[in-house]
C-alpha cells in the first residue's frame, strides 16, 4: 500500500498465507494498524494525540455499552436509573464517572489533535481528505456528546436540549417545524429522550467507521511531521514498531494517569451542578450553559446582539455553524506551500493569536452573558472569522517563509538533542564499514 518505501505485507506463518490467499483479511489488518508502515523519524509528542483519541473512543464505547445495560430512557426513570448506577450497581459509579469524564478528555485530546493539524499544516495536500474526515468525526462527536448529556435528564440536560434544538427555530418558516420534527414534540419529552438514546448508542460506531476511513486515508501519503517536509526516502523514516509503539505506550499510560485523577478525585469538576437536579420543565435554571467543550461556539452564538438585516438569533446560529464549516475549506484558504508553522514566522504569530482567541471565546461562553463577556466574545468571534477567511489567505500570499531543511534527516541532525532517535538512519552503512 501507500508509498514506495512501505513494506508490503508478507505473511510468514503458513496459516496466515493460506488465509491471505483466500481472504485478504490479514493484509487489511496489517495495513490498517500500520504494520510495516514507515513513519517519519522526527514526530514529536503532538503526534501522540491521534492514538489517544482512538483510546478514548474505545473507553467511551466500552463503558457506554455497560452503562446502557442499567440505564432506563424514560422521563420518569432516567434520573433515578443513573443514581441507581451510582449507588447500587457494582462499580457503577466508576463506570459512570469514567464515561462522563471520558467525554471531556476525548474533547481535550481532539482539540489538541486539531490544533496540531492547524499549526503543522496537516490539512494541506495530499492530506485534505484526512483533515475533512477528521472534521466529520468532530461534528459527529459533538452530536454524540450533546445527546449523551441529555440522557441523565437533569436540569442542564433538559434545558440544554431546549436551547440547542431551539437553534433550528431561528430559521424562518421551516425552522420551527424542523425543530418539532427533530424533538418529536414541542418541547423535549419522552419522544426526544428515546430517540436521543437510540442515536447516542449508534453514533459512536459511525465515528469508529469514519475513524477507519480517516486512518486509511492517512496511510496513503503517510503522516506528516514537524518540519512539514515530505519523506524523501527510507532513511527519513522508522518502522512504527517498536519505537513509536513504545512512545505512544508510555505517553498513553501517563495521560491515563491524569485522566484517573479527574475520575477518582475530581469527578464532577468538569460538569455542572444543576445536572444533579432532576429535569423540571417549569423551572428555568439561572444560567443555562452547555458542557465546556461547546463554550467557544456558545460564545459565538451569543455574540450577535443586533438585528442587522437578519434577526440577531439567526446570525448567531449561522455563524456558529459556519465557524466549523469554514474549517473544511482550510486546505484551499491557506495556499502557502510550506506546511509547518516552524518555518512560517508570520503564520506562527497568528496561530498563537488564534489559540488565545479560542480560549477567550471558551471562557466567555461559560460565563454569564454580562455586557463585559458579550463584548469580549464579539471581538473574539470577529477575530475568529477574520483569521480563517481573511488573514490566513493573505498571510499565505505575502509571507516569506524561512528556508526549509533539505530533508527530515538533515533537520533531525541539526537538533539531535530535541528529537527522536537520531542516528538510526545509517544502519546499513555502519554495518558495512
Amino acid at each position: 500500500m501507500s508509498f514506495a518505501w512501505a513494506k508490503p505485507y508478507e505473511p510468514k506463518a503458513p496459516l496466515m498465507r493460506w488465509l491471505d490467499e483466500r481472504l485478504p483479511l490479514p493484509r487489511l489488518v496489517y495495513g490498517a494498524v500500520g504494520g510495516g508502515y514507515p513513519v517519519p523519524r522526527n514526530l514529536n509528542y503532538w503526534w501522540n494525540f491521534g492514538i489517544l483519541a482512538g483510546l478514548f473512543l474505545t473507553i467511551q464505547i466500552v463503558t457506554g455499552i455497560v452503562l446502557a445495560m442499567w440505564y432506563y430512557a424514560s422521563v420518569d426513570g432516567a434520573f433515578n436509573s443513573v443514581e441507581h448506577i451510582m449507588r447500587d450497581v457494582n462499580g457503577g459509579w466508576a463506570l459512570r464517572y469514567i464515561h462522563m469524564n471520558g467525554a471531556s478528555f476525548f474533547f481535550i485530546v481532539t482539540y489538541i489533535h486539531i490544533f496540531r493539524g492547524l499549526y503543522y499544516g496537516s490539512y494541506k495536500a495530499p492530506r485534505e481528505l484526512v483533515w475533512m474526515l477528521g472534521l466529520v468525526i468532530y461534528l459527529l462527536m459533538m452530536a454524540t456528546a450533546f445527546m449523551g448529556y441529555v440522557l441523565p435528564w437533569g436540569q442542564m440536560s433538559y434545558w440544554g436540549a431546549q436551547v440547542i434544538t431551539g437553534f433550528f427555530s431561528a430559521f424562518p418558516l421551516v425552522g420551527e417545524p424542523i425543530r418539532v420534527w427533530l424533538l418529536g414534540g414541542f418541547a423535549p419529552d419522552q419522544a426526544a429522550l428515546t430517540r436521543f438514546f437510540s442515536l447516542h448508542y449508534l453514533l459512536p460506531f459511525v465515528i469508529a467507521a469514519v475513524v477507519i476511513l480517516h486512518i486509511w486515508a492517512l496511510h496513503i501519503p503517510g503522516s506528516s511531521n514537524p518540519t512539514g517536509v515530505d519523506v524523501k526516502d527510507e532513511k527519513d523514516t522508522l518502522p512504527f514498531h517498536p519505537y513509536y509503539t513504545a512512545k505512544d505506550g508510555w505517553f498513553a499510560a501517563g495521560f491515563l494517569l491524569v485522566f484517573s485523577l479527574f475520575v477518582y478525585f475530581l469527578p464532577n469538576y468538569l460538569g455542572h451542578p444543576d445536572n444533579y437536579i432532576p429535569a423540571n420543565p417549569l423551572a428555568t435554571p439561572a444560567h443555562i450553559v452547555p458542557e465546556w467543550y461547546f463554550w467557544p461556539f456558545y460564545a459565538i452564538l451569543r455574540a450577535f446582539t443586533v438585528d442587522f438585516i437578519l434577526p440577531a438569533k439567526l446570525w448567531g446560529v449561522l455563524a456558529m455553524f459556519s465557524s466549523i464549516l469554514i474549517l473544511f475549506f482550510l486546505p484551499w484558504l491557506d495556499k502557502s506551500p510550506v506546511r509547518s508553522g516552524n518555518y512560517r514566522p508570520v503564520f506562527k504569530r497568528f496561530f498563537w493569536l488564534l489559540v488565545i482567541d479560542v480560549l477567550i471565546l471558551g471562557y466567555c461562553g461559560g460565563a454569564p452573558a454580562t455586557p463585559l463577556y458579550v463584548g469580549l466574545s464579539q471581538l473574539a468571534a470577529a477575530y475568529y472569522f477574520a483569521h480563517f477567511l481573511i488573514i490566513l489567505p493573505l498571510v499565505s500570499a505575502f509571507e516569506r517563509p524561512l528556508p526549509l531543511p533539505d530533508s527530515i534527516t538533515s533537520a533531525v541532525l541539526h537538533h539531535e538533542t530535541e528529537q527522536g532517535p537520531a542516528g538510526t538512519l545509517a544502519t546499513g552503512r555502519a554495518a558495512a564499514e
Binding site: A246, Y264, R429
Partner: protein, 308 residues
C-alpha cells in the same frame, strides 16, 4: 471561491463589530443598574470535613449526628428519596437499629389495604427509601408558602460549593443589612421569605431550621450541639447521601493512580531503552570520521565480536 469565503468572513466580522459597538454605546448611555445580588451575595464559608481531599473518609460519628439532625429537623419538610434505610449501615448502625429507625419513622409508606384495595399506609421497612414528608409537590408547596423544599439526597452535588454551601446557608440567616435597604429599597425581603446572603437571590422561603443550641440532643461523648456544629454535621451527612461510595472511590483512585504511575514509569524506561539502544549502536550520517561516531562504531564492533 476564496473571495466568496473572504466576503463571508468580512460580513460576519462586520456584523460582530456592529454588535460590539452598539453594545458598548448602550452600556455607555445606560449602564445596567447594579443589583442587590451582585453586591450582597456571599460565597460559601470555608468548611473542612473528614471526607475532603484525595484520602478523605467519612467520620461515621459525625454522619450519625448529621442523620439525627436530618431526622429531627429537616425531614419535616425535605425528602431524601435516593437513600434507603438499609443504607444507614454505612453510618455504622446495626441491622436491629436500622429496623427500629424504619419502624419508628414518623411518615409511613404508601401502600394498599390488602383487604379492600383502598390506598393505605404501612410502617417503613429497612428496604424502603426514606418516605417523603408530603404526599406530593402540591401538598409540599401548600405547606411551605408556595415554595417547594427540594429533595436533599444530592444537594451537596447540586450546588456550587457543595457541603460548604449547605453549612453556610444554614448558619447564614441574619437581618437584612441597613446599607442594602438604603441602596435598594425595592429589594426588601418580602413577607414569608428570609434574608440569607448565601442564597443566590438573597431571600429564601425556608425559615431558619437550626435556631438554638441543644435543638437536637446529641448522645454523650459528642460535641456540644451548637447551631454551627449541627449545621456542619448535617452538611457532612448530606455529603454521604449524595455519594455514599466516596471513600471507596478515593481508595480505588489511589490504587489506580499508583498502578498507572508504575506503568508510566516502566513504559517510559522501556521507551528510553529502545531509543538509547538505537543511538548507541548506530552511526550518525554527519561523517564516519567524527570522533563520536568512531567511538560508537568501535563499541558496536566490539559488541558484535568483530575486532576493532
Amino acid at each position: 471561491m476564496r473571495y466568496i469565503l473572504g466576503l463571508v468572513g468580512a460580513v460576519f466580522s462586520v456584523v460582530l463589530l456592529i454588535s460590539f459597538f452598539s453594545n458598548v454605546s448602550t452600556y455607555w448611555s445606560s449602564p445596567p443598574p447594579k443589583t442587590a445580588e451582585e453586591e450582597f451575595h456571599l460565597h460559601p464559608k470555608h468548611l473542612s470535613l473528614a471526607s475532603d481531599g484525595p484520602l478523605g473518609k467519612f467520620d461515621k460519628q459525625q454522619l450519625q449526628r448529621g442523620f439525627q439532625v436530618y431526622k429531627e429537623v429537616c425531614s419535616a419538610c425535605h425528602s431524601l428519596s435516593q437513600v434507603a434505610f438499609h443504607n444507614l449501615e454505612g453510618l455504622g448502625y446495626t441491622e436491629a437499629e436500622i429496623k427500629a429507625i424504619a419502624n419508628q419513622w414518623p411518615t409511613e409508606v404508601p401502600s394498599v389495604n390488602p383487604e379492600t384495595g383502598e390506598p393505605a399506609t404501612r410502617k417503613a421497612l429497612p428496604s424502603d427509601r426514606f418516605p417523603a414528608p408530603y404526599a406530593n409537590d402540591t401538598a409540599a408547596r401548600a405547606a411551605n408558602n408556595n415554595a417547594l423544599p427540594p429533595d436533599l439526597s444530592l444537594m451537596t452535588k447540586a450546588r456550587h460549593g457543595g457541603a460548604a454551601y449547605v453549612y453556610s446557608l444554614l448558619t447564614g440567616y441574619r437581618n437584612q443589612p441597613a446599607e442594602l435597604l438604603k441602596e435598594f429599597p425595592a429589594a426588601k425581603t418580602p413577607q414569608g421569605l428570609h434574608y440569607n446572603p448565601y442564597f443566590a437571590n438573597l431571600n429564601l422561603a425556608m425559615p431558619p431550621p437550626l435556631t438554638s443550641e441543644g435543638q437536637v440532643v446529641y448522645a454523650p461523648g459528642n460535641p456540644k450541639p451548637t447551631v454551627d456544629q449541627m449545621a456542619k454535621d448535617v452538611a457532612a451527612f448530606l455529603v454521604w447521601t449524595a455519594e455514599p461510595n466516596l471513600p471507596n472511590r478515593h481508595a480505588t483512585g489511589i490504587a489506580v493512580a499508583v498502578f498507572l504511575l508504575f506503568a508510566t514509569v516502566l513504559a517510559r524506561l522501556a521507551f528510553l531503552n529502545i531509543r538509547n539502544q538505537k543511538k548507541a549502536t548506530l552511526v550518525r550520517e554527519t561523517g564516519v570520521l567524527e570522533p563520536e561516531n568512531q567511538a560508537k562504531s568501535k563499541r558496536a564492533k566490539r559488541k558484535a565480536g568483530i575486532d576493532g
